[in-house]
Symmetry: C2
Subunit: 286 residues, 2 copies
């Protein structure tokens, strides 16, 4: 018998992983949740059939969404993570002794429960006393926060389904308001490669540019996401993600990472021409 | 009816492209050659069932294997390309007026014939008078070359099948000998991600390190290759690929590129920690 998980990256492109067995399948009020075990990638989580993380390569995503902003501001004490119910982003943040408190706003309590049970590699950290978990819609949560956070990480799903509101102008404006005066917002920014995904990415980028004085995009290699070419957005009130960084200070922390390093941090902001052009040439929204 | 091309990236991972139709299928003395047409990637070439290039993303591979060394030495006049019968690498080289002559050594004449007919986007340049095509084994060809080239580009297939000899110590040693005193060799260097591919990549890297005083690795995002995370090797007698570069001079050439730019050139040499560790920790060969 062979069991294969298949994701359509576009209607014309399929990525398939041989599965040993399905460990969990359930449906919350928001989405379908599945956990599989595989030889190649270990355990992996899908939401509505889309790959969220695998044990094998989740370190790439979670290191890049966390250590880039934490290197720019290692004094970030109060942090808001929106989405990220799998715990991977929080796990990386908790490695900094300077992090005082993390509000984790995850819309779907079942995601957290399932990850705690089946993905201890990421969710094992979620009982740490520095974390408060709020089972709420991130879009609504940030409406009521003001001048409260040094860093917001938007660890969302894709710009359709439950995560859609986390790519809107209202949301980014409220994130700006929720941040302190030298605050930083980082978000998962989709892929530039396949045209149908790129359009949503371009629109979201334009909205971030309109909401923050400094806005850049950086990239990473994530083999289990469509095209493997993944972007993150870096937006801030004051700090430039490459020019205003004390590299020596981050290296002095002595954190052992498997993907991230400070040279790669700087290099990740150097994008291919075709991506730079996409980010620049966005039609204004009416 | 649906027709899908499927490549096994590992025994447990499949990547599939919906095909409009198969334009060509043949077998040479060396390998099976196929050309397909697809909605997502345009036409694409496979050898023995492995993806070589698609019209949609070939610019990434060909720009990165060419413009990185040409930026380090824009005075490269005499160039040897080994493999690369599709013509993409030569197309990029011919954009430099300083390039005087290119020897293209392709083992399989049928690859060139088929690409000329079905892939004019890359092979259209192959009748340029600055090119001499030699239908020979690259491993044998370099044995007889000495102090003859400013740049060698090893645009090979994978380290098994007809391309195997292009990953050996003998071959790299002969490339060194075939280069002039400030010569550069660049090679396609496989992916670091899947363990079974990574081992061949590590061994080849060790052999290059043993053959050249300067040896570095750089990366690019190539969506249609396994994992999408692809490496290139840069080896040279004198020039460092980032420190010894006149960026202004390359930019003054005014070449329009879709992936490559000089910031990205520098950034591409900043590798993830796990890749750096792989390249460092190679067992010596007995």
């Amino acid at each position: 018998m062979e069991l294969w998980f298949t994701e359509h990256h576009t209607p014309n492109v399929r990525f398939s992983i041989k599965v040993d067995r399905q460990l969990y399948s359930g449906r919350s009020e928001f989405q379908r949740i599945d956990i599989f075990d595989s030889k190649e990638f270990g355990r992996f989580l899908t939401l509505d059939g889309y790959m969220m993380l695998t044990e094998m390569d989740e370190f790439i995503y979670h290191e890049m969404i966390t250590h880039v902003p934490m290197c720019v501001n290692p004094d970030a004490h109060d942090i808001l993570v929106i989405g990220g119910g799998d715990g991977g982003t929080v796990r990386e943040l908790l490695r900094y002794p300077t992090v005082r408190h993390i509000d984790l706003v995850e819309i779907d309590e079942l995601v957290v429960e399932v990850c705690k049970k089946y993905l201890p590699q990421t969710a094992g950290c979620l009982s740490d006393p520095r974390i408060s978990i709020h089972y709420e819609d991130g879009l609504k949560y940030v409406r009521h926060a003001e001048n409260a956070y040094d860093l917001i990480i938007v660890d969302s799903t894709d710009p359709f389904g439950p995560g859609e509101g986390l790519f809107t102008k209202e949301f980014y404006g409220n994130c700006y308001k929720a941040l302190r005066e030298d605050g930083i917002m980082v978000n998962q920014h989709e892929s530039p490669f396949y045209q149908q995904d790129a359009y949503a990415m371009q629109r979201a980028h334009k909205r971030i540019v309109d909401s923050f004085p400094i806005s850049r995009v950086y990239q990473a290699h994530i083999p289990t996401y469509p095209s493997g070419h993944w972007l993150f957005g870096f937006a801030s009130k004051k700090r430039h993600p490459v020019k205003d960084v004390n590299w020596v200070r981050w290296n002095a922390l002595g954190l052992k990472t498997r993907y991230y390093n400070t040279q790669l941090h700087a290099g990740a902001f150097a994008l291919p021409n075709y991506v730079e052009e996409m980010l620049r040439d966005v039609e204004p929204e009416s």
